[in-house]
Amino acid sequence: MDSHHEWAAAGDDRAIHFTGNWREYLPIAATNALLIICTLGVYRFWATARQRRYLWSRTRIIDDTLEWTGTGKEMFIGFLIVIAILAPFFLFIQFLFPALIVRGKAEAAGGVLFLFEIALIYLGGFARFRATRYRLSRSWWHGIRGGSDDPGWNFGGEYLGRYALVFMTLFIMFPWATTRLWNSRWNAMSFGPLKFHANLDAEGLKARWALIYVAPIAAAILAFALIATLGLSGPNEGGPNPTLGGAVIAVVLLIYIAIPLATLHWYAKFFRNAANATKLGNLEFGFGASTWDWLKLFLGNLGLAIITLGFGLTYWGYRNWAFMVRHTRIYGSVDLGDLTQSTTHAPREAEGFADAFDIGAI
């Protein structure tokens, strides 16, 4: 037997596949929903574990599927740990804030709120890092897992600093901050002995970011032009014009649609660039989803939830994961003999922080 068997990850066939189907997932979705309702939400940790176990086991990379070993119990305990840490803090603020307001100390209350927000942003960054680290530590392939030796405290600080600049520059620096944070986070991660290498920059992302600022203005100009033509040809001059009212609503709607669309357009490219800029050993990644693909995913999720009177919500996780896997490409090769077991420490608090702040890991 060769001890150095090399598997070509590239080739005529794709290296990563999603092999699940919605019928197979239905019993999981249905029982998860029922159990969550009947337990006042406590079951959701176990529901997440079941969902991931299914999705990972239906994600095939080269010759074997992924395996999720995270448990509902550890996520539940992780959540309780985080709540035990944060609850006194939140409770204190909850009493301190109204106490200051009621005493007419609005400035002090504002200061407290400001510090509170800063702490939340720091913990938000920390949470995102820890969630990525936790997920890698519970994801196995060929009996090998991922992880990180970085506890993420510094990442929280970097996150806070970069976001401070983002806020101060009215979000103009956002592409710069997110790309750098992507690098910092992924460069701290590993799978087995292989380190992730992310070298993403804002190059090629700036134009689309500018579009987010331009889109609503363009939409407004377009709509005002429309109003001008409609307003002039309106039947009752001087009085309230119903067409004009409709046009104003149209402007607002356009702006509300233009901004999310432009943002989606940016994120589509961000994920494509991010995947291209990230490596794991000799493996390179690609991500092929266009803005239109993302839009179809979100509209599909929304439509499914509406048509099924809410039950479709239980398929969002499935659809999102399938979407990510289907658009991911892996190129290069991996030397199985060199892919040894990870020596990283696996975190115990699971996704408690990310859960407390309602943050995803991607």
Binding site: T19, E24, C38, W46, R103, K105, R145, G337
Partner: protein, 349 residues
């Protein structure tokens, strides 16, 4: 004899192995002469792609044995049941778990909703007073401090509830210079009236509102609401997320409907005792319930803490006795003083 693929958890390299069952143990052999035996108690089923069986070992993380699903009957004796819903639920079965969970959840919510009503009267008043003082203090700059106005406000409280402003459990009433139409009972016997609730009403309606808030204080509804909010309310918010939003709404209203009815009954009785007409209060409630949504800035806050319905206004209206010789709640001079309670300070917004 079963052909399988083994990952040792040390490298990602797969090893071809042959698997047999010997004396309740799993025997693994390889062409080169390597062999291993694994106790059944160490084996655990892991998730596998469809058509496959994946076994892990509880003592060696990353040790994985991949077999075709056809091998399952042969190994059945060695393997426990596959974990499905989670260990607790697997043990009792899905349907019993749903029933038990449903009953438990209903009980927790039910008890969390009802229990504060029974607990609140037993919470020492001094605790509530300390909490109230800690939170509200002296209200600082937003309090309207005109002495004559304050006197008139306290006179009005005394009128509907004689002796209420005296003693250790005195009602401490304060007018606040806040441009929202609202009045509220706070922990520790504090009652606050926001400026518009004075300037945009009349003495009789304000008497009705104050009597209602005094009712909340005397029946310990404030304590009850606090316990409910920090008990079951917090619990639901913690776990349920989206699913429990409706459940939370049921318990997180500051007062229950019963609380409101009780405070209303107190208010009606107090007005009757003080010989004050309940009609202005009825009119105020009717007016407030009608303008819901139209002038939210004016009514929203009051309606949020005191959900009004036409029925509540009707109860006040029904207690109106056309033959009675009602007295005004305050003299003209007193009402003038009260109306000016916030006048000394320029409005702060």
């Amino acid at each position: 004899m079963i052909e399988g693929k083994l990952y040792d958890g040390v490298t990602a390299h797969p090893h071809d192995v042959r698997v047999t069952v010997e004396d309740g143990r799993l025997a693994l052999t390889q062409d080169g002469g390597w062999s291993d035996r694994v106790e059944a108690t160490l084996l655990k089923r892991r998730d596998a792609p469809s058509g496959m069986l994946r076994l892990g070992r509880t003592d060696l993380p990353g040790w994985r044995l991949m077999l075709a699903l056809e091998a399952e009957p042969e190994l059945a004796g060695l393997l426990g049941r596959h974990e499905r819903y989670g260990r607790w639920i697997d043990r009792i079965g899905l349907v019993p778990a749903l029933v038990v969970g449903g009953v438990l959840t209903a009980s927790v919510v039910g008890i969390g909703y009802i229990a504060p009503h029974w607990i609140a009267p037993h919470v020492p008043l001094s605790w509530e007073r300390n909490l109230g003082t800690a939170i509200v203090g002296d209200f600082g700059d937003i309090r309207c401090r005109d002495a004559k106005g304050q006197k008139a406000l306290e006179d009005l409280v005394e009128k509907v509830s004689p002796g209420a402003t005296k003693g250790p459990d005195a009602i401490k009433v304060a007018a606040l210079n806040v441009p929202i139409f609202n009045a509220a009972a706070l922990p520790g016997g504090y009652i606050v009236v926001f400026k518009p609730a004075i300037t945009e009403t009349n003495p009789d309606a304000l008497a009705g509102v104050l009597a209602h808030e005094i009712g909340h204080v005397r029946h310990r509804h404030v304590t009850e609401a606090l316990i409910r909010e920090f008990g079951i309310g917090a619990l639901i918010r913690l776990f349920a997320g989206g699913v429990g939003a409706n459940a939370e709404q049921i318990v997180s209203l500051s007062y229950t409907r019963d609380n409101e009815a009780e405070a209303d009954a107190d208010s009606i009785a107090a007005l009757k005792r003080a010989n004050i007409s309940p009609k202005p209060t009825a009119d105020l409630f009717t007016h407030l319930s009608k303008i819901t949504g139209e002038e939210r800035g004016y009514s929203a806050e009051f309606l949020e803490s005191h959900p009004l319905s036409g029925k509540r206004a009707q109860k006040f209206a029904a207690s109106f006795n056309p033959k009675a010789h009602y007295q005004p709640a305050l003299s003209g001079a007193q009402w003038d003083a009260l109306s000016d309670i916030c006048w000394k300070r320029p409005e702060k917004t």
